[in-house]
């Protein structure tokens, strides 16, 4: 029985390596592993549900969603009560996962070359990579801002695509929703709920 169980675990990990993946603490290697894992998930034969489910699982492990949530709300964070902050973080996670998986699910069999890494300081390392061009799409430079405060567990905080920061764009989007509604933070909540539910 015990032997059968181990065989099962072994076969399962071969079939679904993303489930039992542990990540390297070296930022460049960390990104290489994430790219490889994403490639397997996004392989053409997998269903959209499979892709969404497994990309979400991966994001929960490798992305600093809480950090991005704080960054995105910026100065408005100070206006939150504890309950509102808790609600915001829950809502943001759902929003982020939907947006993240939706953006990536459009790619099937992407080819990303991880090129180099530059340690900015003890908190951040930038890993450079490129999405190889195809007949339809040009080559795209992608830099990954990796948060390394805990060197044993690096986390992704931002993707900089051809010099354009996704986190910054998101932050400015959030600010615009709030400002165009006379500073009402609740309108952002409503907008995020609408996005998640649609």
């Amino acid at each position: 029985m015990k032997k059968n169980f181990f065989i099962f675990v072994f076969l399962f990990s071969l079939l679904y390596p993303q489930v039992s993946f542990s990540y390297n603490s070296d930022p460049k290697q960390f990104i290489t592993e994430i790219v490889d894992e994403a490639k397997q998930i996004l392989s053409g034969s997998n269903s959209k549900e499979f892709k969404t489910k497994n990309l979400s699982k991966m994001a929960l492990k490798v992305v600093d969603i809480k950090g991005i949530a704080y960054y995105s709300i910026g100065k408005y964070r100070k206006q939150f009560t504890d309950d509102e902050l808790k609600k915001y973080l829950e809502l943001f996670e759902k929003y982020f996962l939907k947006s993240f998986t939706s953006r990536l699910s459009d790619y099937s069999d992407p080819k990303i070359d991880v090129l180099s890494a530059e340690v900015k300081n003890d908190k951040y390392t930038i890993v450079r990579s490129k999405l190889v061009g195809t007949d339809k799409k040009p080559e795209v430079k992608i830099d990954w801002r990796v948060y390394t405060k805990n060197p044993e567990q690096p986390l992704i905080r931002d993707l900089i695509i051809e010099g354009l920061s996704l986190a910054r764009t998101q932050k400015e989007e959030f600010a615009s929703v709030i400002e165009s509604n006379d500073g009402d933070i609740k309108k952002l909540f409503t907008t995020l709920i609408e996005f998640v539910e649609n």
Partner: protein, 268 residues
Amino acid sequence: MMKKILSMIVLMMFLQINFVNAGSTDEKLKSKNSNTTADECFEGFSRTMFSLNLGLDKAIFKPVAKGYRSLPVSLRKGTGNVISNLRSLLTLSNNILQGDFSTAGNTAGRFVINSTVGILGVWDPAQSFGLEKQGVEDFGQTLAKWGSKSGCYFVLPILGPTTARDTVGMVGNIFLDPIYTVSHNRETDFLIGNENYQEHNFYFYRGTGAVDFRAKNIESFDSLEKNSIDLYASVKSIYLQDRNKKINNSKINIETQNDSDWEEIDTQ
């Protein structure tokens, strides 16, 4: 010709209002331009124009871009190269105005080689001669390099997002683009044969460039549209970040990103 020179002088005088002290070092310029935000001039109008442009894009530009993309890859690549080669003349004018003579030499060398050996720019043999492709320049970037601030942000019908400085830059581009001068100058027409350089050729060249750009970004824009909670704000952010990157001539992606944005956020 005198009229054009006079217009340029008026334009320059107008810009003096916006200028800060010239002669900044590159470091100063970088820190000054690292602020990628701009106030809105008239947001209501801009949002209406943005919606109008989106409608036009769906009805006209995107279908045309999709049609263009169904052409053979070699044809599209050749067309993109020809447009890029012609566009490099405007870059050359701005390289010179920015005092960047080494890049100007590179741009000029590339144009000569690609227009001759590369058969009117269809191919890019200049790369093999060691002349690497540099970033494009326009008069808006030149104004920024000279110290002009961006001014407020707004959206123009058809032309899309811009700032006060970049709008003046667009006007400047017309005067600085040799293709415009050649195609709109009757004397040049007489010298080289009126048949080949009629005015509409200029608009055809600019239009083809726009279609080529749109065709390369179909999926990116679809994804942005699908995943934005405020598409207008997203496009504004991307436009301003992109301009900032181009003004600073950042070759490294993260050069224009600011670490201090993240400083207070500790989750580990």
